[in-house]
Structures are given as C-alpha cells and as structure tokens.
C-alpha cells in the first residue's frame, strides 16, 4: 500500500516539474498556459492520491481521505475555468501568437464578421 502511494507521489512531482520546464521553454503565452496550468493539474491530483495512500494506517480515526478527495474534486472543477478565463483575457489583450503558429480560425472568423471580437463585458 505504501509503495503504491510513493510511486504515485513520485509520478506527480515529476509531472509538476515537467510543467515547470514547459513554463520556461515555451515560446508564447498560449502554449505556456497549456503546459503550465494543465500538466500541473494531473501532477497535483496524482500527488494527492499518493499521499492519501501513504496515510492508510490511520484512515479510521482521522479524516485524511475525505480532505484529499475534496482537494482533488476542487482542483478538477476550478482549474479549467481559471485557465480558460486567463487565456480569453490574453486574447482580448491582443498578445500576438508565436511565429510557429500554423492556423488561426478565430482571427479569420472575426475578420469575416461571423462573430464579434471578445473584449470588455
């Protein structure tokens, strides 16, 4: 039981570190949001599951599992919302996409007047 928890914790911390490397290496804001906030989601969830397994000795008396489950559910619900809001704000600020970008359908549709520009509400 404890070995499983340790493996989960190691995978989780490694995933968090990968997210940090992506945060440093990526060329523009949008890719940084992609790797930075979402690889860290899986990393945090894995670490919490591992820590919950590692405390199996006193599951009966103290509430470890419930608090870890609340944390995992909370991260799963709030993280996509906050990163989506952040990326919309970046697009509304007109931060340019990097030179590697292949296609931008949203810009084409704004130019073709299919939809209005996302901005102040």
């Amino acid at each position: 039981m404890e070995i499983i928890g340790q493996i989960f914790l190691l995978i989780g911390s490694f995933s968090l570190m990968t997210a940090a490397v992506g945060l440093l290496r990526m060329p523009d804001v949008y890719n940084r949001v992609q790797t930075g906030t979402k690889a860290s989601t899986l990393g945090a969830i894995m670490s919490f599951i591992g820590l919950a397994f590692m405390t199996y000795e006193n599951w009966g008396e103290v509430n470890w599992v419930g608090r870890f489950l609340v944390l995992v559910i909370f991260i799963l619900i709030t993280n996509p919302v906050s990163s989506h809001v952040l990326m919309r704000a970046a697009y509304a600020m007109k931060i340019p996409l990097s030179k590697l970008t292949v296609v931008d359908k949203l810009k084409e549709d704004i130019n073709n007047k299919v939809l209005e520009e996302p901005k102040d509400e």
């Binding site: 992609q34 509430n63 609340v70 549709d109």
Partner: protein, 164 residues
Amino acid sequence: MKTKNIFISFLVLLIGWFLLTWTLDMKSVLIGIGLTGMLAILFCGSCTIFSEIKLTPKAFAYTFIYLIVFMGELVKANIDVTRRVLSPSLPINPGIVKVETRLKSKMARLILANSITLTPGTFTLEVHDDAFYIHWIDVKHAEEAQATEDLVRKFEKILEEMYG
C-alpha cells in the same frame, strides 16, 4: 423539473458534508441532512443547472464509462505533452482550429468544454453558438470536419447517451 434540481443539489451537498466530517455518528448525520436540505430548498430552486441530469441506471453506467475514458485520455495526453516538452528540439505546431458540436443541453456542453480544456494539448478558447474555437498545440488537421472527428467525437458519443 424544479424538485429534481433541488433533490440533486441536496445529494451533492450531503456528499460534501460526509467528505468533510467523515463520521457516521447519528447526531452529525441528522444535522447534516437538516442543514443541506434547508440550503437546497432555499437557494437551489432558481438555478436550474442540475435539472438536465437523467436519473436512470443507464446514465449512471455511462457516467462511469465517461470517467474511465476521460482518465485514460488525460494520462495519454500528458505523456504526449511530456515527450514534447522534454525533447530538445521542441516539436510544437500550435494553432487555433474550429470544431462543431451536436450537443444541445447546457450541462453536457459545460462538461465537454471542461474535458477539452483539462486534456493537455487542447484548450477551449471561445464558444459561439455551436462552434468551439480550440487552441491545439500540435495541429494535425486544419479543416473543421477532420478536427471535429479527432477532438470532440470520443467524448461526445458518451455525453449524448448521458444527456440525450
């Protein structure tokens, strides 16, 4: 419609109460049922976000299948993004593509957009009518139909069974 919304809100709040107190003591359970019932009746009558959930065994089975499929996709996409980040030449190919969805209910669309956002490599940037604008870290198909086939269909099939 309204009673179903209140009932599902009550269940969700009660599960939260049990997770935070972690006891089956009689007094605590009674207090929890009273408090969550009062909260659900007072505040959850006007918002109707839960009223589209179907309470049939088939919907529950498909919910479990959806969770398993989603976890598998999450791990697979994470391994892919890890490989991309750690390789020295940084093989990324980003772009914004447009996909169409067939789902009608609000809750199903919320779950679909959040699933796309949580899977690393794809990101819902804007929603307009039936169109999702998705920032994709490695664009394989720029056309609408192909991208829809790649990104949306695997979640959409199960969500259609769940919400009808």
